[in-house]
């Protein structure tokens, strides 16, 4: 009987949870899909903390976005696609105007939500991940692969290798291997790298690592025998630190390894200890460390005990979370200029994203100087930036080692266009005409 009572109680409470409680009307609801548990938690936690802390900062310091208070709720996905879809369905309708935008921080969930957001009219902010071809805003009106896609990353990585070698002509006949997480996430850069290999004449080899990447001995023994000139690392979670350790074990020089920006944070290098010294990774514009906004965060959020951050404050992924929230908040602010200072619907937020224009002054004003270059989006261009740089792990901290590179759009744009056109044909989407929209 107790069992039944408990079950009934659980269901009743659950049903209550489904029926959204009454909410104040002047609140902007922002959902946060996080993974603080499971295999990818070490990387998911700092990002989620950064996202939450910036929103808290806006509420604490400014009283919201132009007076519209941010209400946010986290939902644990555990990096699983079906759980992510459930979280999306749970949170999309909350608040007076529904969810402003979603940032799933998972390629798999992004792919699944890409199919769902057009129906619900909610933008998907995927900062440096997700579908590379979703840069094309005419086919993917709701996806915003802001600041860079995996293809951008691949291109920049090759550019850096060329620079270290002393020019693109030196790439000819060289060997570059990609050690990748065997999933859509890891496979995305392959077409861009293949295109680059054809153009620059280097020998490209892709070496898959099975999820979650705890066992990589054979891959690295193959690298030891093959001796590629450079190894690109496209991992996530435990795979990154294991790769670095195995590289050390086969005595592959770490400074010839270049990780994508998802393989270049503190949880990736600290478990490897001294072995990680010299390891390089791409930067999605912003580095680790404190900038203007961190002072504000310390003053208004952390010191008041309202922060989510622990010792990950100002780490790479934490900063990326802060940046992610800032871009979302600025998109809402942009939208408010057109639609008025009230909570925005997903459709209005999308307008905000498409008309987002962050100038150098505005970035400085926000306290993000040094973390972000000016960025401007449009109906057609949902990425807005092609720049990335590199940093290197010194054994204690990340140090920036390069200037900004700009990805070669003459290679990437045709790929974006072709892949997006194929998607549009498959899904029978008529691309919107961006010339006609204001």
């Amino acid at each position: 009987m107790i069992r039944k009572t408990l079950a009934v109680a659980a269901f009743a409470v659950g049903a209550m949870a489904v029926a959204a409680p009454a909410m104040a009307q002047n609140e902007q609801f922002l959902p946060s899909l996080v993974y603080r548990t499971g295999a990818y938690a070490p990387n998911g936690i700092p990002f989620a903390n950064g996202v939450a802390d910036y929103w808290t900062l806006i509420n604490e310091r400014d009283g919201g976005i132009n007076g519209v208070k941010i209400v946010f709720e986290e939902c644990e996905t555990g990096y699983a696609t079906d759980k992510g879809v459930e979280c999306y369905e749970r949170l999309k309708g909350k608040g007076p105007t529904g969810a402003g935008y979603f940032s799933p921080l998972s390629t798999g969930i992004t792919f699944a939500l890409t199919e769902k957001v057009p129906g619900d009219k909610i933008p998907l902010l995927t900062l440096g991940y997700g579908r590379s071809e979703s840069r094309d805003g005419s086919v993917f009106p709701w996806n915003f692969v802001l600041l860079g896609s995996y293809w951008t990353a691949a291109d920049v990585a090759i550019q850096h290798i060329a620079k270290e070698m002393g020019g693109f002509d030196k790439l000819k006949g060289k060997k570059i291997s990609l050690v990748y997480h065997d999933s859509p996430y890891g496979k995305e850069p392959i077409p861009a790298l293949e295109a680059r290999a054809k153009k620059d004449g280097f020998e490209f080899k892709a070496i898959p690592v099975t999820h979650p990447g705890v066992e990589q001995k054979s891959q690295w023994l193959a690298i030891r025998q093959d001796r590629p000139d450079y190894v690109l690392l496209w991992g996530w979670g435990v795979m990154n630190s294991t790769s670095i350790k195995e590289a050390a074990a086969v005595a592959y020089p770490r400074d010839k390894m270049i990780g994508v920006w998802w393989s270049g944070a503190e949880p990736d290098v600290t478990p490897a200890g001294d072995q990680a010294t010299g390891y390089k990774a791409l930067l999605l514009q912003h580095p680790a460390g404190k900038f203007g906004v961190h002072g504000e965060l310390e003053k208004h959020v952390i010191s008041k005990g309202k922060g989510a951050a622990k010792d990950d404050f100002a780490h790479v992924l934490y900063n990326r979370g802060v940046l992610n929230s800032m871009l979302g908040v600025e998109a809402i602010r942009t939208a408010q200029k057109k639609f008025g200072n009230k909570p925005m619907t997903g459709e209005q937020v999308r307008w905000g994203f498409e008309n987002l224009n962050l100038t150098a002054e505005r970035i400085k004003e926000l306290g993000f100087e040094g973390m972000l270059k000016p960025i401007k989006l449009s109906c057609q261009d949902h990425q807005g930036a092609d720049e990335a740089r590199l940093h290197q792990w010194t054994g204690k901290e990340w140090k920036i080692i390069s200037d900004f590179y700009t990805a070669d759009r003459s290679i990437l744009d045709p790929m974006v266009k072709d892949t997006a056109a194929k998607y549009a044909a498959d899904k029978k989407i008529a691309p919107r005409d961006c010339a006609k929209e204001s």
Partner: protein, 309 residues
Amino acid sequence: MIAFGQFTEVLLGGLLAGFLYSLVALGFVLIFKASGVFNFAQGAMVLLAGLALVRSLDFLVAKGFPYWIAVVIALLFAAAIMALTAWVIERFVLGPLVNQDGLTLFMATIGATFIIEGAAQMAFGSDVYPLRLFPTDAIFMFENTFPGGILVNKLDLWGAAIAAVLVAGLAVFFQYTKTGRALRAVADDHAAAQSVGIPISWIWFVVWLVAGLVALVAATVWGTKLSVQFSITFLALKALPVLIIGGFTSVPGAVIGGLLIGAGEKIAEAYLGPYIGGGIEYWFAYVLALLVLLVRPQGMFGERIIERV
């Protein structure tokens, strides 16, 4: 000569990896041998032991204890946690399920897996915690014979040595101690063992405790290799093919199965992988196990299955 050197390197790497798999597989075997329970929670127990060890170690080192004293205390603390786990599982999960069929018990251990994973992460955190108990640098052997030498990781050698000691110790325990003999009696027939006065719940506690300690040993090695984090639970899946090749009931089988799987999958990945796209070692281990089962349905060293109507 280069080709032979490479082959030796892959083979050796595989064999050493196999020892590490058998460290996890041993825990499964112990419990199956003594209670007929297919204990899916072994991976979670490795996680729990590792977390308890590394968190208490970090805490003690931060408090200013000398490193080796801290290690000893942390090991004792982790062992105590494993003892507590063994008691809880015996008392609240398996005790009430005496005489149920294998599938139900298997399910119960999956339930226990959830509880352990949740509780371990709640108590000790879900981040990644580096553990550095053993040296992890590489050594190169036969550098005169082969160009570049043959690479061996010191950690793998440690793992192999520990697995060897563990197996010898367990063999002695099963063969020569009173509790060990009682364990074998219980494995043979619960009811008969009970009727000759063997306290079955005590025996089950002991076997879960031993499995917990084996998990702790596995955690020291794997924690050093991977750092202690949730992904360590996936080791259970790498231990299963080892288990079926060796047979669920054989301690030496776990080691030999580990060696076969380790060497087999690494050689397949190195020599077959490049032709069909790589990343094949996960399924290759299972296909290898499947092939062994087709020849010997009880695994290589398992007890013969006798069926009567």
